[in-house]
């Protein structure tokens, strides 16, 4: 008998006795509907987001500000290019890292800097030395101010976390209202073949491990800039 079989045998033996349903600690009257998964109604319980695009955009903007991420809404591609160039000059970028994509290719062309491409074999030390990692994403989540990336949509696993500044370029129609919508999208888009990494990025890297005082850039990027066009 392998360890796996032994563990399964113990589990099956243990489960022959029924456990009581999860307790209510004396509270009643707020059971979720019993049809389907208990989490199927999550949208009704999670923080509200508003129904219109404007509401959700305002929610995303407010969350990004709370998280100390920078958010720009560009009206068109030209405005985006202008904003990118401003950022390049203010930050004094010498070299950036990116991956192939409609928005990222245009951004790299605009920036006119040396680019470390992570969608072909690359050296981690070279990526680490870049001033910014520029990626696309799968979605923006209004409810939490998160950027949803996968290693397929955002140039691998390291690009969005190793350089000190993560710059995301998203399209307006990528703004989703909430987490349930994000998981719906993942299933619709990838169910046949999921990327090996899916990540909700909610603000720049942070820690509170010293006296619960917030410090940005613990290990990942110190800055997160999100452009929506």
């Amino acid at each position: 008998m392998t360890e796996r079989e032994k563990i399964f045998a113990r589990i099956r033996e243990a489960l022959t006795v029924q456990a009581p349903l999860p307790g209510h600690h004396g509270e009643t009257g707020h059971r979720p509907a019993s049809n389907g998964a208990p989490s199927a109604h999550a949208r009704e319980w999670l923080p509200p987001t508003g129904d219109s695009f404007e509401d959700q955009l305002a929610r995303f903007r407010a969350n990004a500000a709370d998280l100390k991420a920078t958010f720009y809404l560009a009206n068109n591609r030209d405005e985006l290019a202008k904003l990118l160039l401003e950022l390049r000059d203010v930050e004094g970028w010498k070299k950036v890292a990116s991956h192939g994509g409609e928005l990222t290719d245009a951004a790299c062309k605009t920036l006119a800097l040396p680019v470390c491409r992570t969608d072909q074999p690359f050296d981690a030390s070279e990526l680490e030395a870049c001033d910014a990692g520029i990626t696309e994403c799968d979605a923006l989540v209004a409810q939490t101010g998160s950027v949803l990336v996968t290693n397929r949509s955002a140039g691998g696993r390291a690009l969005s976390v190793l350089p000190p500044h993560h710059v995301v370029i998203a399209r307006r129609d990528q703004l989703l209202r909430d987490l349930p919508a994000a998981f719906e999208l993942l299933k619709k888009k990838y169910a046949a073949n999921y990327p090996s990494m899916i990540s909700f990025i909610t603000g720049p890297s942070r820690t509170g491990d010293i006296e619960r005082i917030l410090v940005l850039g613990a290990h990942g990027p110190k800055k997160l800039t999100i452009f929506c066009v």
Binding site: I7, A14, P20, P22, A158
Partner: protein, 464 residues
Amino acid sequence: MSSPSQQFTEQAEVLTHDLRHRDIVQTALRKYEVVRDKSRGAFQDYRSARQAAAETKWEAVNHLDKYLEQLTKNLEARGTKVHWATTGEQAREIILGIIREKKARSIVKSKAMTSEEIHLNHALEHEGFEVVESDLGEFIVQLRKEAPYHIVFPAMHLTRGDIKELFNRELKSTSSDNPEELTMVARRVLRQKYIHADIGFTGANFAIAETGMVSITENEGNARLTAALPKTMITLLGIEKVLPRLEDLALFLPLLATSGTGQALTCYNTMYGGPRQPGETDGPEEWHVVLLDNRRTELLADPEQRDALHCIRCGACLNVCPIFRNVGGHTYGTTYSGPIGSVITPHLRGLQDWKHLSFSSSLCGACSETCPVKIDLAHHLLQNRRNASEQKPSFWWQTGFRMFSFIFNRPALYKLIGPLGRIGQKLHPLVKGTKLDPAYSWTKTREAPKIAPQTFKEYWRNRS
């Protein structure tokens, strides 16, 4: 070597009187309470979310065989190697085996309580491997050669001054005690480790049966880097971590963040579905997932306390527990401290040796009330007490209760108690505060209540 119970009592005695410790912990937890309440308040209906989470975990744990099979099948389909360990020793051997086979030297770790549970660092260092904890709090306690103080905030018991001194001593840093500067010291040291480590080691917060994924929640980005750069990745998780569906995370990720750190969502919530796939340019070439039992199946076999396996290790019950807040995390002497630790440690490490933790409770119920997956912790503490005394009745308790029932069944004897008590209390000042005092354990810190001048019987008889 004194018993775990004696050690607990001695340490608790020291720490409850340590005002500096109290101040540090209370300050940290007050900050937590403010943000936690704000995040909970942002939910449209927190109570229903919590109930749904409890029901989802119930479904997963009570069909654990089905969901583990599904998880394994889906993980293996993407090229992930799945290993099974009944004991901590087996898990250590599996992990050491992988590391030896890869001829690896250095291992970078992101936070994993399961690795504390099996004392992995000790085993790895004993074999001569270089192990670096990458979570800032874990990195700090590793430098101090200590166990984590708290399952979510490992270095909660330290001030910035303590950490500055530690970094100056161990890392030859010349940083000030500014938390930002201190964090940057750790960042610089660890960045090179990710790039050059042979093995990346992680824990897990959830495993998704439906899609064969492991979900890791963190703030710093250290787990993201650990799972991106080294060539081999090893993940150690308890078998109870499984959730049925991918979309269950829409509920569990915000609940974990809210209860764990008071955030609406932690900075990185990442789902890993396999090693590097064809066409991908980075990520580990091999991914090993080690599923750990380590007596979780014994807890599963107790239907009364099976819901303790619902635990998502958010630490909310530690944060509200008056015992934890007074005696501190290290006093428990266990991997998991606070109410959840007091409930599960007797199952994981033996009831008689660890029953004292279930007696060290005010039974205020704050733990049950705060738990985001509705584990009935306060009642489980009572059940542990009951089980412990049924299994091994205490002579003194039994004698005490026998005397009690003997006297209370005999009115003539009972009548003597009042007058005897009054005489006793008059004599009490002679021995009070000394070891001869029969009520010493009470009176050393409190005044004994004054016995009434007459009993109710006497009053009734004498009423005019």
